[in-house]
Amino acid sequence: MTLADIRSSGLLELYALGQLDAHDQSEVRAALRRYPELVAELREIEIALYRYAESHGLTPEGDVVEKILRDYPKPPGRSADPSRESITTSENKTASSGRGLRGLLSGLFLAAIAGIGVYAWQQSELSEARASHQLELEECDTKTATAQAYAAQLESVFTDQYRPVDISATEAYASARIELLDDQASNQNYLRVIDLPELAEGETFQLWSITGDNAPVPMDLFDEKGNGLIAVGKVNATDAYAISIEPAGGSTSPNMDKLVGVFAMAG
């Protein structure tokens, strides 16, 4: 691109306005290196824009500058207040002028020791930060893998092959929300837990199959809560499934006082 091309293209203006994509930005930068006279032109555009923004400037209501000067990450040994620092520096200069060479050397020695200390401390902090960052990365990877597995599970079960059945919660557990995804084609169902009551120590949830007047048949135990899919067994031609809270290890017959709800499968 020639100098005239750049000037007539309007790229300089867009560059200063931050409206160029990466490719055009590198074109402009290359042109600025090739034609140093463009730099002055770009500066003129930038100054014009600065003046324009300045003419539309507004004063924040809050004490933003105080917050900035209070909260900026301070390097070790720095004063928080620039004006105070200025005074301190000035006082130090006055004081130091009266010291002898020995005092100066002692000061330098102490400063060097302090510098080494600060450096060692910074290295230690850096090392800790790196370790912590690594842990966070690993945790993030684990969570990502879990989320991906869950997403894959969801994708596989939310098809026509699965019939969702909501629980009819008992009065004692009226807030319970759980869905049974009835697989029409295999011998496995899923429970999609949305909200279940808190379990006491030594308790577990138990799934039951109920067919006709027969005694409920004990099935899977689970204690998961929150959003998630739980693979459970399936009984063909069952009239209903139920969930109750039982002692850890499960029971052979359901505790009717702690019956959470029933999934009616008939129909």
């Binding site: 309007g10 203006e13 867009l14 200063a16 306005l17 931050g18 409206q19 930068r29 600025l32 770009l42 500066r43 003129e44 555009i45 930038e46 100054i47 014009a48 824009l49 600065y50 003046r51 324009y52 923004a53 300045e54 003419s55 539309h56 400037g57 507004l58 004063t59 924040p60 209501e61 809050g62 933003v64 500058v65 917050k67 900035i68 000067l69 909260d71 900026y72 990450p73 390097p75 720095r78 004063s79 928080a80 207040d81 620039p82 620092e85 200025s86």
Partner: protein
């Protein structure tokens, strides 16, 4: 142009303002030098010089004073922590800061899904902001700069530079072709630069005439 115009107080005011603007840019190197030495004086100086201009733009984008102040603070935190990434060869400090501030503001808008509401607001908001104290801010200067631009250029420059619109968004909003946006933008910038140049000439003329008058008076 009459002598009266040349030596008017307004002319002098503009002269000093323009000169100060140039000095500000020259002083960028001093600010950067302080910041690279981790000296908070650089932070204070940068805020004093650019804080209001940046806040004006941020507030126009997010339209929420509290959020705008947070973004302004974050912009200066980034200046403090990432000053080593600033390259004076590529841009003046204000351009770099503006880029950080605008991107942060636009990110905040996207995040909070304010965009739709904002962009259906009247464009007049910008004018009111700069003329009064709308949105809780105080105008620092209703410069003749904006008034000297043609309306169609001023609207476009305000949308792009002060309100964070992209070129295609402007084309859609104003219902004009993208090519027209680009052409008008160039013309707007050209007009803005011409305005600044003529101001500078006017100010230099003012000084010369003042000196001549002083010499004549002393004779």
């Amino acid at each position: 142009m009459t002598i009266g115009t040349i030596i008017s107080l307004e002319g002098l005011r503009r002269f000093f303002k323009d000169t100060i603007a140039y000095i500000c840019l020259i002083e960028d190197s001093k600010i950067i030098s302080h910041l690279r030495e981790s000296d908070p004086k650089g932070l204070r100086a940068a805020y004093d010089k650019y804080g209001k201009a940046l806040y004006g733009v941020i507030l126009r984008i997010v339209k929420n004073p509290g959020l705008a102040e947070e973004i302004l603070q974050d912009t200066f935190m980034k200046l403090w922590t990432k000053v080593d990434r600033y390259d004076p060869e590529k841009s003046v400090l204000f351009t770099w800061l503006m880029s950080i501030a605008r991107n942060n503001a636009l990110d905040a808008v996207r995040l909070k899904k304010y965009e739709h509401n904002q962009k259906t607001d009247s464009l007049d908001i910008t004018v009111h902001d700069s003329e009064g104290n709308a949105n809780g801010g105080a105008s620092i200067d209703v410069s003749a700069l904006a008034n000297k631009l043609d309306e169609k250029y001023r609207v476009l420059l305000d949308m792009m530079y002060l309100q964070g619109y992209s070129q295609s968004e402007i084309a859609k909003e104003l219902d004009i072709p993208l090519g027209t946006v680009k052409t008008r933008l160039r013309s707007a910038m050209s007009q803005l630069r011409d305005t600044l140049r003529s101001e500078k000439s006017l100010f230099i003329g003012s000084i010369i005439v003042l000196l001549l008058l002083l010499i004549i008076a002393s004779l």
